[in-house]
């Protein structure tokens, strides 16, 4: 099984990648560090899984080369689990992408990364409610310190795909 790490540029995909696989790809503090993709492996239970660090993309309508790579990766790996990494301090933008990925029918796990920075900025996110609305696992993470990564990995094998209509229904009902 394949795991795709997707998210906006500069949300920490590569840091999460390194944490999960123990690899050492370049991390830097500016967006657009990953323009090609990286591959690594992780063993969950008895299964060896391939993890792919996808270049950052704002949406699934590509506007540049790196985004094209990202969208193609998703299209070619329809049966993979997508870990959608969101910058908790800019959660709205991230959720837009997450919904787009859910809409395409992929199995999704949402990682709310940079959770510590969001706390510093007094941004409170109701994780439980988000979980209910989206119907997919939502895990707060701090990739630079490794917090939440174990839980994130443990949620991957249980991920299921969700119908966008049911997400819409949950939003309307709350």
């Amino acid at each position: 099984m394949r795991i795709l790490l997707m998210g906006h540029p500069n949300v920490g995909k590569s840091v999460v990648f390194n944490r999960i696989t123990g690899a050492n790809v370049t991390e830097s503090n500016y967006p657009g560090t990953t323009v090609d993709y990286e591959k690594g492996y992780v063993r969950i239970g008895h299964e060896e899984m391939e993890v792919i660090d996808v270049p950052g993309t704002f949406s699934l309508e590509p506007k540049d080369k790196a985004e094209e790579v990202a969208v193609k990766m998703l299209e070619r790996n329809k049966d993979s689990v997508v870990v959608c990494i969101i910058d908790s301090t800019k959660i709205e933008r991230g959720l837009y992408l997450a919904l787009e990925i859910i809409e395409r029918g992929s199995r999704v796990v949402v990682a709310l990364n940079m959770w510590d920075i969001a706390e510093d900025k007094n941004i409170n996110i109701d994780v439980e409610k988000l979980r209910q609305i989206l119907g997919v696992p939502v895990v707060p993470t701090i990739a630079v310190s490794g917090e939440g990564i174990k839980e994130l990995v443990s949620r991957i094998s249980g991920a299921t795909s969700v119908k966008i209509e049911s997400v819409m229904k949950n939003v309307g009902g709350s």
């Binding site: 704002f58 949406s59 309508e61 506007k63 301090t89 800019k90 933008r93 837009y96 992408l97 787009e100």
Partner: protein, 75 residues
């Protein structure tokens, strides 16, 4: 007062009123949508891009895009 995003002054704030049809999806991924609060951060001279702040993050938009976003500017 309604203005094109490209005509906003430095530091001006406002609420996005409308976005021209096909642009809507393009800018949605960057966090710009109708009813969102937006602030002009920088404007580059000679038809250069504009930088706006939405939800704590800066986004630079080409003039062609900025001209097609209408903002209700606050005094």
């Amino acid at each position: 007062m309604e203005k094109k995003l490209s005509e906003m002054k430095y530091g001006a704030q406002g609420i996005v009123k409308s976005i021209k049809g096909d642009l809507r999806n393009k800018v949605a991924g960057m966090g710009i949508r109708v009813n969102k609060r937006i602030r002009m951060a920088t404007k580059q001279p000679i038809k250069g891009p504009v930088v706006v702040t939405v939800d704590e993050s800066n986004i630079s938009l080409g003039l062609g895009i900025a001209e097609n976003i209408i903002v209700e500017v606050e005094k």
